[in-house]
Symmetry: C2
Subunit: 625 residues, 2 copies
């Protein structure tokens, strides 16, 4: 009997956002799973801002939830504020976002994982993999304990050889106050993997008691807050906390510039690339020299704490420069720091070394998920964890892989981008990365994904039933609008108010609902609609669903058709280990890139950078199409 | 303007139990205070068992609370089970103890500190002191930031050059999963301090889902749980979680013995001394070779978590030995580990280098509190934090020191023992250490200490009012028993049931209450008593107080007289830097020890080990008494 006398189906290394979702997904798809992490007291920490969701990221959280991941539920239960961003734009842009209570978030994750069958826990640092031939067989811990497994998912986040920078000072660490992780990178390089360095940064945390909120602009949550989870195990918030907003100024910028010569970003000490879209304040000043102010969002870290996060002021300038400059910001005249901002450099592995399942091409049974793949953000990490967890589990069970396509999910776009194009800077999701974003809405993540997840035994019965109910209620409501007439007497006052032409004679409700000037609230002002909604006890999600189907059905259908057309190429599979050297008419670059990426379909091949449409024609001809 | 542009009155280094109480005490006595700790997410961690109080320790928590410290309130608010230990013995032995929810405990501490005025926070490792001449002037952090202060309290716990041992493996750390702290010991040694090494250990944490509780003995909480805090900001538990009990066996011991040659305790790798009264399981087997079983208490780590603490199984044997042996224990046949037990060695500073205020003799304004002084236990640490925090604050304010005497508080005994006798092994409080333990009860900690604390502006008005109310209610109840008569008809059935002689004629109630066979419940069976209690709405604490005063007044008075007698010696002060070499008639040993300890009173001198009664006579003669 050895210390671990069991061979696990799946071992997940790391208890961050990726690791937590990976562990939940593997266990919930029936695999015996072990989560090994450096400190079980610190799992699911929000290393940076206390918030989940946001543009494109909120959609990802909804997708995770629709499949049965936990991020949406945890976020709902620990939210202190909810906002649907972009509500004034079309529904493809609607993006849910919450402020979170940082401590509760971590605690709720831990308790949910503890309540997950098939999932064991172990606290220690993993510093090596067990590999036989080209197959992973387990992990080795810093105590030298060997734990056997059929598959291993690495989710080390920013910890691999993590190096923290503040001004001209540097020290090892995986996150402020936590040690870094060593050994794994070196072994993977020996196994033949490419690795690189990336960097990210975080702003100072400050004492809310030292701030003057009267000089800032309040940012309250939505009046009618919604939530992430499609399931009914969470409720919307009834109570919310506000954030605040302030601005930097030319004086602030001047003070920051005084530290530029000691900035590790500018003096060459940090060579690796940071997230272009979460730039540090020094970056913003540098790149947008003409802007004389930048917004700062001042976000409470929880319901009761006095700790605040200064969103927009990420920096690795020397601490006294951070301090002097922040004291110039309105409301921050007397600010006290809990800790300064800092930057961290860490190892990542270019994700072109992975398959769509996030399994490595080099070592069978070994998966990478999260920041280790060169991404940034909790949502990006969590969704990769889910993909890796599900697929590791399915592979152990000798089932088909679970791959989301680009027209099915943002998560599909994310994975496909990573493995096909790789990334030279921390990859963050944007709506613009999705070619079918009218299809990939937050409101329909359940109808897109719950059935797929249910089919592999991940999403449960309850989620399917909830979806069926929502679908039929929404369809019935659409039918109601299609079939119910309204008179000019009733409609015209509303139409007049909204500045749209009056009706001449009675017509179906759908006709006026389809007008761009008329929204759900207008329709709800009609007695018959009110009665129908009350009688059927319909919730906001159903009403919005009907509205979207009526108002956007044209766009949606068009995009669907486009997607279907391209689907043709998606269906032409390329055999494993295809030998591109024999296709002499391919460009040299295409041959090289395709050999490296080994795309699985013609469609994926077409997305590899350096592969031209004529290269694709060559391939199609060769494959007899 | 530098990063910290303020000179604090008090800087507290370390956010463990000592540091948290120190910070609260300094801030609440009006000093501007900064708490600097390595990780603000991890403050007030329970490094070892999830429990507060217990024999002698429960009294300390009550004393801390009576003075206005936070440990009692935090413990009440985060308790999952309450027990008054030793309830069958005399009230001097009654000792409150709670099981705690580990995560909530830390969170509650943090939120209480955040709500404390005058208290700032900063996250970083301190690795040096600023010292000018023989005066401390601040601290230096690992980033090189200098923070100025009039006084500094070091509460580094087990972190100073902490080295973790499991079997024959060792690695640096301050606690499982956390890094150790370096630099401070080296600097202190350069300043002339003595330092030493101690060790302590902790048992494995296990997955409650892998345990079979049906094979264990349930250990429920008290039926009528009380609480620690004398204030009304906390309530007693209405709901509790049970612990469980199991036993080791000869088979378990045999399996453990197989690892003895790889035990760092037995093979000489750990040289430093561990806590004799919290021995590891291997120690117990070794020292009590005739015992064929030892109790194990299986304690949940919180309301909802599945993590359990195996109290009684502290060990640094190789992890697979721990595992194999524990699997032999009834109920543990399928146990899964969250993490193995381990031992930790760390630096401490022999506390004879301190004054009664816990200020160091060598460096003015520098205080040590907690495990750094060679103690063990959260309660011991917390109480020292309070003493150091209050005294640092009073000194900055140029007020008289706050010193608790041995007949006033266990905390007085603790500090006096430490600084007078020093300690060669981790010091833990016991009732036997107190010569006046009938005076130092948990029930009267408020009457002993609240007035003293109020006088220096620490305990608030509300605590004094609560004490006055309790005192007068208790005294009125005693008067009621003294003045109210009871008839034989009413009393005799109860007396008969308790096997004590019947009354012949009516007499005052106090007469029968004083009989050893009769307890409070018996008295409460009389209508008149019931009515009085109901009419005056008296709570348990008041009833118990009256009972103790009536039943134990004799013992208490006797001990008080003894204490007063000895107080005579306590009042004979020895001048600062007294030159013992000129007292030639002192024994050589006495001269040496007294020179080192520099006791402040003849009474303290008499407690220095190696000082005989005849040495004391010499001193008394010299001082003209
Ligand atoms: C300073 C900083 C600033 C950031 N700024 C931003 C930002 O501005 N915007 C943004 O979107 N994202 C930001 N992020 C990124 C965000 O925190 C991550 O994207 C997200 O946390 C990644 O999740 P993860 O699960 O991949 O890794 P992490 O959350 O880093 O979790 C890794 C986990 O693995 C554990 N672990 C690591 N190595 C081992 C090992 N060898 N053995 C056992 N356990 C191990 C760690 O203890 C930890 O629990 C920032 C992160 C940091 C640290
Ligand atoms: C493995 C283990 C087993 C134990 N077993 C027992 C037992 O069986 N029975 C028992 O009664 N007690 C036991 N204890 C002891 C108990 O945990 C301590 O007595 C108590 O926690 C001491 O409190 P403290 O405040 O002195 O230190 P700690 O609780 O150790 O807190 C120290 C704090 O200081 C911080 N810190 C340290 N150095 C620095 C620095 N340079 N800069 C900034 N911050 C710093 C740390 O981050 C931490 O927050 C055990 C402790 C450990 C670690």
């Amino acid at each position: 009997m050895s210390f671990f006398d069991q061979t696990y189906d799946v071992i997940v290394v790391g208890g961050g956002h990726a690791g937590c979702e990976a562990a939940a997904a593997a266990a919930n798809t029936g695999s015996s799973t072990l989560l090994v992490t450096m400190n079980l007291q610190n799992i699911a920490q929000m290393s940076c801002n206390p918030a989940m969701g946001g543009i494109a990221k909120g959609q990802i959280v909804r997708e995770i939830d629709a499949m049965g991941g936990y991020s949406g539920i945890v976020s709902d239960r620990t939210a202190i504020q909810f906002k649907m961003l972009n509500k004034s734009k079309g529904p493809a842009m609607w993006s849910p976002r919450v402020q979170s209570d940082r401590m509760r978030f971590a605690e709720e994750w831990r308790l949910m994982l503890e309540n997950t069958p098939n999932l064991d826990f172990y606290q220690e640092m993993v510093n090596g993999l067990l590999v036989i031939g080209d197959r992973v067989t387990g992990v080795r811990t810093s105590l030298g304990i060997e734990i056997k497994a059929k598959s291993v998912i690495l989710t080390n986040g920013t910890f691999l050889n993590g190096l923290i920078h503040i001004g001209d000072k540097q020290f090892g660490g995986g996150r402020a106050g936590e040690r870094n992780s060593t050994g794994i990178t070196e072994q993977l390089i020996n196994l033949g993997f490419d690795s690189g360095r990336m960097k990210t940064g975080t702003p100072p945390r400050v004492d809310g008691r030292s701030l003057d909120f009267s000089k800032m602009i309040e940012q309250p949550g939505d009046e009618n807050p919604q939530k992430f989870s499609f399931s009914n195990v969470t409720k919307s918030l009834t109570n919310q906390r506000s954030c605040q907003m302030s601005y930097t100024s030319p004086e602030v910028h001047d003070l920051l510039r005084e530290g530029f010569d000691r900035s590790p970003m500018f003096n060459g000490r940090i060579q690796s690339t940071g997230p272009r879209y979460c730039p540090s304040i020094e970056d913003k000043i540098n790149r947008f020299a003409d802007k004389d102010r930048h917004q700062l969002f001042v976000e409470p870290e929880g319901w009761n704490t006095i700790e605040y996060y200064v969103n927009g002021f990420s920096t690795s300038l020397p601490e006294e420069v951070q301090f002097k400059a922040l004291r110039q910001v309105a409301g921050f005249e007397n600010v006290k720091f809990f800790r300064p901002g800092y930057a961290i450099e860490y190892d990542y592995f270019p994700p072109t070394q992975l398959r769509h399942t996030l399994e490595t091409k080099l070592v069978s049974g070994l998966y990478f998920a999260g920041q280790i793949n060169g991404t940034t953000g909790y949502e990006e990490a969590a969704s990769q964890g889910l993909v890796a967890g599900v697929n590791a589990s399915l592979k152990v069970q000798e089932k088909d892989p679970f791959i989301l396509k680009r027209d099915e999910a943002y998560i599909g776009v994310l994975v496909d981008d990573l493995i096909t194009k790789g990334t030279k800077e921390p990859y963050r999701m944007f709506t613009s990365r999705a070619e079918y974003r009218t299809l990939l809405r937050q409101d329909n993540a359940d109808s897109r994904l719950t059935p797929l997840s249910y089919a592999i035994g991940f999403a449960g019965e309850d989620r399917m039933r909830a979806l069926d109910k929502k679908e039929s209620e929404a369809q019935n409501l659409v039918d109601f609008f299609n079939n119910t007439s309204i008179t000019p007497e009733e409609a015209n006052p509303v139409l007049a108010e909204k500045g749209t032409t009056p009706m001449k004679q009675s017509d179906k409700m759908v006709k006026i609902f389809s007008r761009p000037q008329i929204d759900l609230d207008d329709m709800l002002s009609f007695n018959e609609v009110q009665d129908y909604v009350a009688e059927h006890n319909l919730d906001t999600e159903v009403l919005e669903q009907a509205e979207i189907r009526i108002k956007y059905s044209g766009y949606i259908a068009k995009e669907k058709a486009n997607a279907d057309k391209l689907q043709r190429l998606e269906n032409i599979k390329i055999p494993d280990n295809f030998d591109y050297t024999k296709l002499k008419s391919l460009s040299y670059e295409a041959r090289e890139k395709l050999t490296k990426i080994q795309p699985t379909t013609i469609s994926q091949a077409s997305r590899v950078s350096g592969v031209s449409p004529s290269d694709i024609s060559v391939m199609l001809v060769y494959m007899g199409r």
